[in-house]
Symmetry: C2
C-alpha cells in the first residue's frame, strides 16, 4: 500500500444527547459525495461522542476553576501540578492534562467529560455503521493530548474498534533482511493524528475518513488493552 486519502466530513449538525452518530455520519458522508466504504477508518472526535452520550456536566461559567473538582473526580492519581495545570492518570487509564475534561466547543456553563468507555463507544458506532450503512469499517475516537518533552498537542486514539491499536513488527525483517529492532507501532494514534490534519481545531469538522490502510490492520481491537502502558512498564510515572 502506498496511497492514502483522508477527507473531513463537512456539514454535520451540532450534536445532542441521544443522537444516532452512525446514521448521521453515514448520511453526511454520502451527502458530500464520499459514501463510506468497507475498510475505511472513521475517526470521530471525543467531543461529539461525549455530547451524544450525555457526558456534559454543568459548571459555574463565572468561575474559571469550577471544573477542577471534576478533574480530581475523574483521576485516580495526580502526577504533576503546575499552576492550574494538572497532569493525572484518569479512571480510564489515560495520562493527560485535566483528565481530558475541556470546555472548548462546548456550550458555556458545561464541561465535557471523556466517554465512560471509548472502546465500547467505538464498537457501538462501528456496529451502527454496519447495520445502517452496510459497511465494514474501523472506528477511532480521537482526543487531543499534550506530550512530554515536545511542544504542541497531537490527536491520539482514546478508543477504537475494528482497526488495530498497536501493530507488532517484532520479528519482521527490515528492508535489508535482518530482524528489526523497532517493535510496536501505535497505529491508531498515527491515524488519529493524520485525521486531525483535515479536521482543524476551529472548523466544524468532527469526523474524518481515512481510506487506503493495509487490509491486515483491520481486526478486533482496543485502546485500553493494547495502547495503555501498564504503570509497572512506565519509566515516567
Amino acid at each position: 500500500m502506498s496511497r492514502l486519502e483522508i477527507f473531513g466530513i463537512i456539514g454535520l449538525p451540532e450534536f445532542r444527547v441521544g443522537d444516532d452518530l452512525a446514521t448521521m455520519i453515514a448520511a453526511a458522508a454520502t451527502e458530500v459525495g464520499t459514501p463510506l466504504a468497507d475498510r475505511d477508518v472513521v475517526v470521530v472526535t471525543q467531543k461529539i461522542v461525549s455530547k451524544v452520550e450525555d457526558r456534559l456536566v454543568p459548571i459555574d461559567p463565572t468561575d474559571p476553576l469550577s471544573h477542577k473538582p471534576l478533574v480530581e473526580r475523574e483521576s485516580v492519581r495526580i502526577l504533576r501540578r503546575r499552576g492550574e495545570l494538572i497532569i493525572s492518570e484518569t479512571v480510564h487509564g489515560f495520562v493527560c492534562a485535566n483528565a481530558g475534561i475541556d470546555l472548548s466547543n462546548v456550550e458555556a456553563g458545561y464541561a465535557a467529560l471523556l466517554p465512560v468507555d471509548s472502546d465500547r463507544s467505538s464498537r457501538r458506532i462501528r456496529d451502527g455503521l454496519r447495520g445502517k450503512a452496510g459497511v465494514d469499517v474501523g472506528v477511532i475516537i480521537s482526543d487531543t493530548f499534550g506530550r512530554t518533552w515536545r511542544r504542541g498537542v497531537t490527536d491520539v486514539a482514546i478508543g477504537c474498534a475494528g482497526i488495530a491499536a498497536v501493530i507488532d513488527l517484532r520479528g519482521t525483517n527490515d528492508a535489508l533482511g535482518r530482524e528489526m529492532q523497532v517493535t510496536e507501532v501505535a497505529l491508531a494514534d498515527e491515524i488519529a493524528s493524520a485525521a486531525e490534519l483535515v479536521m482543524g481545531k476551529s472548523t466544524n469538522i468532527p469526523v474524518a475518513v481515512v481510506r487506503g490502510l493495509e487490509a491486515e490492520w483491520f481486526r478486533t481491537s482496543s485502546i485500553a488493552d493494547e495502547m495503555i502502558r501498564h504503570p509497572a512498564d512506565d519509566l515516567f510515572r
Copy 2:
C-alpha cells in the same frame, strides 16, 4: 481544506554517502506518476538522511551493546535507564531512546547517528527540490520515537523547512465562537505520523508526499526552535 492525499515514493535505490537526495526524490516521484507540486510536504525518513550525510559509524557486529558508548556520546543528560534501554536528552535537544541511534535498515557492523542538524538538512533538501525540480515544497525529516504512558512508537519530525512545526491556535475562536483553550498543535509531528502510514517499517519506502495541507501552514520553520520544549517548561525531566 477537507481532503488530503498521502503517497509513498516507491522505487528509490539504497542511498550512499553524498547522494543528492533532492534530485533522486524528484525523479522517483515523477517516475511513479506523481511529480512533486508546490505546497506538497515531502517527508523523508532520518535513516536515508543519515546515510547520505555520512553519519554511519562502525560498530562491532558481534557485540549487541557496542553502540552504547555512542549513545552516551550523543547524549547531554541521561533521564532513565532500564536494562539496555537508555532514555536521554540528545545533543540536538530530543528526548528519546538510545539517542536516536539505531541499527535497523543499516548494514551490519554500522550504527546510524541522527543528522547533526536536521533542520539544516531539511532546508538543504527543500532548496535542492526548488533548484532541481522547480517546486516550492515543505520538507520534514522524520524519526520513530517512543512516548511516555502509551505503548507503541510513532513517527515524529526531527527537522523541517518551509512547513510550520507548531501552529498556534491561541485566540482563534472555536466553532461556538468562544476563545479556545487548546493552543499549539504539533503540526509537523502529525504530518510525520500520517506519512508513516504509507511508509510501513519493513518496506523500502523512505519518502512520502503529503498533498492538500493548508496554504497558511507553509512558512519558514524549525523543529529546534518551535517543537523542542525548554527543560524549564518540562514537568517530566
